[in-house]
Symmetry: C2
Subunit: 419 residues, 2 copies
Amino acid sequence: MDIGAYVDKLTSGARTAARSLAVAGSAQKDEALGLIAEGLAADAEQLKAENKKDLDAAKEAGLSAALIDRLTLDDKRIAKMADAVEEIIALPDPVGEVIDGWVRPNGLKLHRVRAPIGVVAMIYESRPNVTVDAGALCLKSGNASILRGGKESINSNLAIHRVIAAALEKAGLDPSCIQLVETTDREVVTGLLKAQGKVDVVIPRGGKGLIKAVVENSTIPVIKHYEGVCHVYVDEGADLEMARKICFNAKVQRPGVCNAMETMLVHSSAAVEFLPKITAELQEAGCELRGCLRSREISPAITAEATDDDWRAEYLDLILAVRIVDGLDEAIAHINEYGSQHTDSIVTRDFARAEKFVASVDSACVFVNCSTRFSDGGEFGLGAEIGISTEKLHARGPMGLRELTSYKWVAHGSGQLRS
Amino acid sequence: MDIGAYVDKLTSGARTAARSLAVAGSAQKDEALGLIAEGLAADAEQLKAENKKDLDAAKEAGLSAALIDRLTLDDKRIAKMADAVEEIIALPDPVGEVIDGWVRPNGLKLHRVRAPIGVVAMIYESRPNVTVDAGALCLKSGNASILRGGKESINSNLAIHRVIAAALEKAGLDPSCIQLVETTDREVVTGLLKAQGKVDVVIPRGGKGLIKAVVENSTIPVIKHYEGVCHVYVDEGADLEMARKICFNAKVQRPGVCNAMETMLVHSSAAVEFLPKITAELQEAGCELRGCLRSREISPAITAEATDDDWRAEYLDLILAVRIVDGLDEAIAHINEYGSQHTDSIVTRDFARAEKFVASVDSACVFVNCSTRFSDGGEFGLGAEIGISTEKLHARGPMGLRELTSYKWVAHGSGQLRS
């Protein structure tokens, strides 16, 4: 296989498709999405059969149970994929939305209008549902997508993509609006990452290694979805009952996700009253606790000393780092030093300290008196999300349809000249 | 000099400064800017003396007259630099602006708030005024900046930076809010481009070679200010008198800038009436014309045949490529194929074709019935601009203060938990 030629074929097909998709109406895009949802349901047996090939290979290769779980398609999951597409249909089309506009003194009517980005390359793990989600979100936002899932999911993805391509064609759209990289050769990824002017953005989703490799090898813009080292800071004078519930929820409700709390910071004046209770409760829920020396003196449930690595850790597990701080400034400094600029929350009664925390913590999501677990496109009311960006440019935090668009400046004149 | 240690010093100083600047009020930032403007005026003699060193070296090195002109500081230009800072003071502070917000069903009050990006590295040519502009725009938008001007301007930049540093200190701000790379060693640039997590964005401004080198070597996000291959399309049935004035203005009013017209597209039905007159007028203004075969048959002023290179050329000079097209679709296809996604204008009387042009031309600025020369932050009413972005992500088109910011999601709760 000539990889260079294949990459060219993918990218030039995507560009042509993107041009037509940019002017396709919402009705046509929604029709295609409806056909995708229908097709997934109709082809469930075929999808499961192809998925079984991947599962057999994965088991033979000794993949972990967690990876195999993510790879698995069953009737329930196929129905969920179709439901996700229906949810995207229900969202408003962001293309054409007027962001703002005004009239210049010379009479030029200026407005900023949302427009598709163009060609989006998604590089992700072996999770077949991402093939559907990413393709559908890109389609709705008017972007042609080139999807490259993990090699372990290739048969599942090919089967899903057959459904997608048939739906696009039936709706009268260019089938290249959503393309799948049909080989697991890594050179294709390398080629896509260097396709300046042909691919407009790369969105990697997955483990740190994958994201690091994309960032270091790409010469085209990348929107990272990196780790979440999230904090809750329990302030002096906080409602400790509220703090206890928030910390427990932030750690335990779903520990394996990026918006779960990984480090709890507690003001020294609250520690004696607060720490024994919350740590006992967390321990009872199966959570391992690693803390600073002062916290260990107060709470026997904190069974290990936290190291510098713990302050930087995204455990994604029932493990929590605990640190006592002597004030808001120390809490902010800790978060800005060790956090990942994802989501951080303060529990406080003090208005001024809440304001200072919000202004000073340099994170995508900064919360007052609620669980870090709300950092989520659905919870924010954005509808389906393509991920949570840890970038500062373009899109920060949960990325929905709107964040998958660019904009253009449109001016309507009547013969204006520059003097 | 230990380059690695120097880059670390620059970036860690910038990060610390950025943290304090993010929470500095508008009054303090404006005070510092006022002191910079004052300082430039007060130190004019010193600035000219240091600039003379650069000019002498440039002349000895045989630099072109155009480069030497850009490098030169005289009283008028120093006054202009100070005026530019005063204009930035007059602009509203973008930090803290609430972009949007709503209340979720669970009572969580959510809002998106503009926040500084953090640490901005500017890499630019030997134009000392950019040192002032870029530093001032970054300061006002709450970003710490690391400025690296062309090596030919080092003495001028060092002198300007002494004024800036003194002003920052006097206003009680960290002098590292605006840092200058004090060596011309290129390794510092290489180090900055790899400083992931330490520099948040790189903005290169200058020639194609500079920008290409930055894009290809950077592992941190880049906002490019690339070329402008701008078009005017004269539609069938257009007001040809309006078209003539717009095309003349777009080409001749200031040919050396990125928003000047480089290719004129004319509908075949308008060509016989339109072309002879406009081309004669352009020729009289000293413009060289290169056209397609059909255009040359109509107009003797088109003295050369245009090649593929001409369709892609950013002349930045009194040269124009001319092409006759048989309809709107051909015009759009030409622009999307050969243009640089900067600024393109249609002259038309037809509403539907205007709408189609606006939707289909994939450029940062798409105009109807006005000169391409309006593609400018000042003309758009954005105030001072740091450049015109040719990116699709983050900022597209003219970049003012607002485009130098990111945002954060802020949620105010009352103990909300995720279930």
